[in-house]
Symmetry: C2
Subunit: 449 residues, 2 copies
Amino acid sequence: MERFEGVVAGVRERVEPDSDERERLQQVARSLAERTEDAITNLPVEADVVQVGSTARGTWTSGDRDIDLFVRFPPELDRETLESYGLKIGHEVLPDGHEEFAEHPYVKGQFDGFDVDLVPCYRVESATNIQSAVDRTPFHTQYLEARLDDDLAREVLLFKQFLKGIGAYGSDLRTEGFSGYLSELLVLEYGSFRALLGAAADWHPPVRFDPEDHGTEKFSDPLVVIDPTDPERNVAAVLTPENFARVQHYARDLLDNPRESLFFPDSPNPLTPEAVDGRIADRGTAPVAIRFDAPDVVEDQLYPQLQKSLSGIADALSRRGFDVLRADLFADETAVLFFELSVSERPAIERHDGPPVHVRAHAAGFYEKYADDDSYGPFIENDRYVVERRREFTTATRFLESETVFDSALGVHVEQAMREGYEVLSGDEIGVLAAEFGRELARYFDPKP
Amino acid sequence: MERFEGVVAGVRERVEPDSDERERLQQVARSLAERTEDAITNLPVEADVVQVGSTARGTWTSGDRDIDLFVRFPPELDRETLESYGLKIGHEVLPDGHEEFAEHPYVKGQFDGFDVDLVPCYRVESATNIQSAVDRTPFHTQYLEARLDDDLAREVLLFKQFLKGIGAYGSDLRTEGFSGYLSELLVLEYGSFRALLGAAADWHPPVRFDPEDHGTEKFSDPLVVIDPTDPERNVAAVLTPENFARVQHYARDLLDNPRESLFFPDSPNPLTPEAVDGRIADRGTAPVAIRFDAPDVVEDQLYPQLQKSLSGIADALSRRGFDVLRADLFADETAVLFFELSVSERPAIERHDGPPVHVRAHAAGFYEKYADDDSYGPFIENDRYVVERRREFTTATRFLESETVFDSALGVHVEQAMREGYEVLSGDEIGVLAAEFGRELARYFDPKP
């Protein structure tokens, strides 16, 4: 336990902003709020500004430079006007900013060295009356501000850094992990980082919390935390079983063997093409990959689409007898769907079971269909006709290169991108992926919990 | 229908014994019966002789040279005495005969150019009181003799020849088809070969007959014919779903396209080793075979044991990722278990799913077991640990050559024979099997219903 405290002290030193950094952020936030209020006065509407997110709640880690300001408009305002007012204010406050799109368009930009999001929303009475998903955010900040004292905020920092270290921080659709809000609610629930770890090590899903004891819905997620500001919402809805299990694994690991490196892991060294070849030779597998230009959409669209496409093509490969040992996706300038196969070739023929012979009309149709073609059979096994017919694809590569690959379940932008052109890599061509994805391949070939 | 009748007339011509042949057989049977009665008089016991089987019932086809005589002893006689009396009579009647073993030992020998079985049994009151399976046989003959007139017997000949032609005649454990008794009961049921074919073409299993309406048991076989002499017995118990379906298929075929060749098919020409290689190349498969000296046991023991071993090893191959497209067994001097594989090689590693991470003690044990060995992982997928561990066998051949093959379910005599030595053939070594099993391989590579 002493060792645990020692590790925690070391982590605190690295993640807690000192008073200078804190003061500096407060100044910039105040100045931004003032500029925003000034911009509001030029509009024929009443609105106010609230700072939200971890920098508003004192749960940000040293080096974070994100300031989130929400401008709250009256709920009667139509959405189009809200959006135009929001962008007008955004561009006034952040003259060098650019527009991004979440639920509405908003302006993102730099100010005094900080990354600022300026987001319009509706000032609704309660989180259950929201008109847009972002309307909920100010309620979260309000709820936590009232409950997280400085000590708890310091515990939150530890948990967040732990989640970052193990790769489970963030409710974006690439990570599908723990949001800041969820992390804070969990620390609030258990009272300390240490207590939360001890509990998580023993969690037995489904794990359910309802801080305000007002939940009305059933959820099938492994972790259910009913939003204190909205009885119908599971704050952990995005969390995957993997990340749930990951937190359990590393909670046990950290308690057994406390160490700072879990909070600040080194990135793996990128693999060279030769090293990739070496791993494949050691594993004796047959890798194939599809590469195409990454669709130009935000990550929250890109990753779910890549994931869907990866599963869709993996299923299509498996159905054709090309057994997938493991698959992964990589995205940067290009996007790669990577399949490591146990079986990449199949015979010229495949077994195809027909109907039971006693189902006369159906059976006769099957028999006639295959009796005179170049199949082997039909013959009888058990009570059925069986035929050994020609396979459409005898290698995985030929399937991936064919038009038939588009019959797989693909994300819409992925399909578009692939239709514009893709290449299929296999065998020792796989090494070339190391140029762009050496680090990802290093992680792939040394998989950790 | 006219064409059907023409075909039937042609078949009759070939299978019906003429009066000379019939007379000759009767003479020999009478003379054998007399010799047997004489032999009985030398014994201190009362016994009688009955002729059984198709030659007794006039349902034998031209060229059959089997005469079966049963000597019936009083049921009080102990089994040992019955056996010694039976053999004594047998050797007296058939001086050149030799002993064989079914339920009891009995004598088999030649007499005047006929193959004679001389079998001792008990003269019980009814077939339900039998002390030995062979005691039932005289009751079958008695039942059918009273019901099969000459016209029906001629129909039986057609059905039997049809079954021989399609390979479904015989209740031995190699064929697992229709016994003579079963064939005769079915003709009795439907009244003619033609009516039986028409019905069989439309059978929908389970098909159940109970000629004496006295059945007491439930059976799960596709065809259930309650023995008219024994309410607890299904005469078709040995019939496989394959042979049931086969009769359906060829009944439809013969009615659609009547032809004599179905009754008298040509044996296929044996394949040469080169032809075997050619078939394999066309199919693109990976054949492997185990060959050993055929165990010296009767066919009714040999074939079930080979079948069990074939399934046992096929399962073991499949479990290790060596997908079996089709398998078959051949036996003569040597016995061969033949597996045509779709996949004969696997990577150096295999995926192995561990427990869910939340099952703490079990999960921790799994993690520790694999964390520091040469496996990849453990990592997390869904809620479980997964590891990619080294495979024990990366080729089917190496598995078959290993001691581990004996962990498969094997027939006891097959296991003994294999322990004395076996060879594993694969790839282009398979062609050598054509020397002994060219015809079997021809059937294998041109499979028919």
